[in-house]
């Protein structure tokens, strides 16, 4: 349905291709350089993704447009049929039309024999602003092929706004006694573990390895996503809960307990001896999350008699209560996740009988409630520190949702059987 409606815009592609050729040799900009687009401060730059030729063209255009839409930093300008016809009548590059549509830039992606050719036009200066080629041998419509396009969208967002997008990321979650991964746009949901009792997945900083705990047998496992090989890092009696990998990729911090409460431990990712970090004195200490510099850990502890959020140094010292202590029947705060910016911690708190997602500012401890519809739990930051995914039952079934914390806009990420414990990846390398 999406591709048939996009087919109407092909005339614009032909128009733009005719202007792309003479401009192609003019400029080549290296990765990460920002294009000086002209658009109103405080608004999002309008970007027209021009129709793409070839049998996969509609998919290419739809994927990149949707990445812009989901990224919340760029306003994708969708050309309707009439506009496309009008544009196609023009005998010269139709800069006035693009300007009238509010486009600060136009993007032309052309499938080639060994990948994609990208051209970006600056509408205000009527110049080619960026030319780049992306090599891939991935089969069209495969996950790797889609990942190349997500990478293009991320590059483009960075060149337009100075902030790299998060389209080429994946989100891990638990569903039906397996760990799954889904692309940031909700496509390609795939189980990555066998059926068992896995729970609480987390990423290593490279995005190639994940750690998760298992309930029965109780332990922590590490899985190489590229080979599919997993190994048991630590196991034994009692419970092993909520492993996270340190930002330097060297250690795994997890919760473990047998008969005297549950405490946080650290163990080298490569294996070795575990060392206890927290001194919970019989209380529960779970759900650790590292600060981006790896020097502090935020975690949930029941040491005050009910679950609250605490921080400590990575060696277990200098413990500090983070959330305002609220002695009451419903005081229950959990699932902290330290933001990539380092400034905020997202967590869940019981409010009016339901869990809601909140952030707390580490500097002034100001609180901000992010959700109010249904039960919302287990927030996990995107690597841009702006978007969050969390579990919500607002449709009646626990699904993952994505929230833009700047605009409050949200979208449903997963569909189908209920899910939980999401973990948003770092920005992923090209495959």
């Amino acid at each position: 349905m999406r591709s048939s409606s996009l087919r109407r815009f092909l005339p614009v592609a032909l128009l733009m291709l005719s202007i792309a050729a003479p401009l192609a040799a003019q400029d080549s900009t290296s990765r990460g350089v920002r294009i000086g687009l002209t658009y109103d401060p405080g608004s999002k730059p309008g970007v027209a993704v021009l129709p793409v030729t070839g049998p996969t063209g509609d998919s290419v255009r739809a994927i990149v447009q949707r990445d812009f839409d989901f990224g919340d930093r760029v306003n994708p300008i969708v050309l309707d049929a009439m506009t496309a016809i009008e544009a196609s009548r023009a005998s010269a590059p139709n800069w006035p039309l693009l300007a009238r549509l509010g486009a600060a830039a136009a993007v032309q992606i052309t499938p080639t024999a060994n990948g994609f050719h990208l051209a970006v036009y600056n509408v205000a200066t009527k110049q080619t602003a960026l030319i780049r080629d992306y090599a891939t041998s991935a089969a069209p419509q495969s996950r790797a092929w889609r990942a190349v396009l997500h990478g293009i969208a991320d590059d483009l967002e960075e060149s337009f706004t100075g902030v790299r997008g998060v389209a080429r990321t994946r989100i891990l979650f638990e569903r039906g006694k397996r760990i799954w991964a889904v692309d940031s746009d909700g496509e390609g949901a795939t189980p990555v573990t066998d059926v068992g009792t896995p729970i609480s997945p987390s990423w290593d900083p490279s995005g190639r390895t994940i750690a998760y705990s298992t309930i029965l047998p109780a332990g922590i496992s590490v899985l190489d996503l590229s080979t599919g090989r997993s190994r048991t890092l630590v196991s034994g009696g009692g419970v092993f809960i909520s492993p996270v990998i340190s930002p330097d990729g060297a250690n795994v911090v997890y919760a473990h307990g047998v008969d005297a409460g549950v405490d946080l431990y650290t163990i080298p990712l490569s294996g070795g001896a575990a060392r206890r970090l927290s001194v919970g004195r019989g209380s529960d200490n779970v759900s650790p999350s590292f600060s981006p510099d790896g020097r502090r850990i935020v975690f949930m502890s029941g040491r005050a008699g009910h679950p609250e959020i605490y921080t400590m140094d990575a060696d277990g010292t200098n413990v500090d209560l983070l959330t305002p202590l609220d002695i009451g029947e419903n005081a229950y705060r959990a699932s902290p996740d330290w933001s990539p910016s380092g400034r905020l911690v997202a967590f869940q708190s019981q409010i009016a009988g339901n869990f809601q997602a909140l952030t707390i500012n580490l500097r002034d401890r100001s609180l901000r409630q992010l959700t109010s519809d249904g039960r919302n739990e287990d927030p996990s930051w995107a690597p841009d520190g702006r978007h969050l995914t969390f579990v919500s039952n607002r449709t009646g079934v626990r699904q993952l949702w994505v929230l833009d914390t700047e605009t409050g806009r949200s979208r449903q990420l997963t569909r189908g059987a209920p899910v939980r414990v999401p973990a948003w990846s770092p920005r992923l390398p090209a495959e």
Partner: protein, 196 residues
């Protein structure tokens, strides 16, 4: 849990089977009388008398075995009986203590029996905290039983958190049935009931 119950049932079935074998050995075939004289009549009466004594003894043995079986079954049921907790709590309520107190003499009478305690929670709260809470509940139960003289090494603990609800549902009645500790006994073919 299910597997353990099956093991106990199998053990009981094998006891019943042995009983059956023994019965065959005891009830020797009665020879057919070929002639009627005083001696053979007396012998027949003696045999009949012996047979009726054997039948009575057999009935008594069977009744005793049935009683033992019933006692063993009751003991297994008492060991398996679940206990329940309040929301977000691991302390033992009076009803839980009473249930645990009933297990103690059975564990003492069956020193080879080990007990695996599994802590469970209702679905509220986070999966991670609930795993910890389930472990805390199992550990609390273990502490209580060891305080009553059961050896530490005979009791193991684990947590399933909220991953294995006993009943589905989102009301307090369902939650209450899910906030529980379950017990799996192992290590004896058949349980001996405590002599009171």
């Amino acid at each position: 849990m299910i597997r353990r119950t099956a093991v106990l049932s199998l053990a009981l079935l094998s006891v019943a089977a042995l009983d059956g074998c023994r019965r065959k050995v005891v009830s020797a075939p009665t020879p057919v009388a070929t002639s009627t004289n005083a001696d053979s009549l007396a012998a027949l009466r003696a045999r009949q008398r012996a047979d009726s004594i054997a039948a009575a003894e057999r009935a008594a043995r069977e009744a005793a075995a049935a009683s033992d079986r019933r006692s063993a079954g009751e003991a297994a049921a008492i060991l398996a009986q679940k206990i329940y907790f309040d929301y977000d709590r691991d302390n033992l309520r009076d009803d839980a203590r009473a249930t645990l107190d009933a297990k103690v003499p059975i564990l003492i009478a069956n020193p080879s029996v080990t007990l695996a305690i599994t802590g469970h929670t209702d679905e509220r709260g986070t999966a991670e905290y609930n795993l910890a809470l389930g472990q805390r509940r199992a550990a609390q139960v273990k502490r209580y039983l060891t305080s009553k003289g059961i050896e530490d090494a005979r009791i193991s603990t684990q947590s399933m958190g909220d991953s294995q609800p006993a009943v589905q549902g989102t009301d307090e009645s369902a939650y209450q049935q899910n906030r529980r500790a379950e017990f799996q006994a192992a290590g004896a073919n058949t349980l001996v009931a405590p002599r009171s």
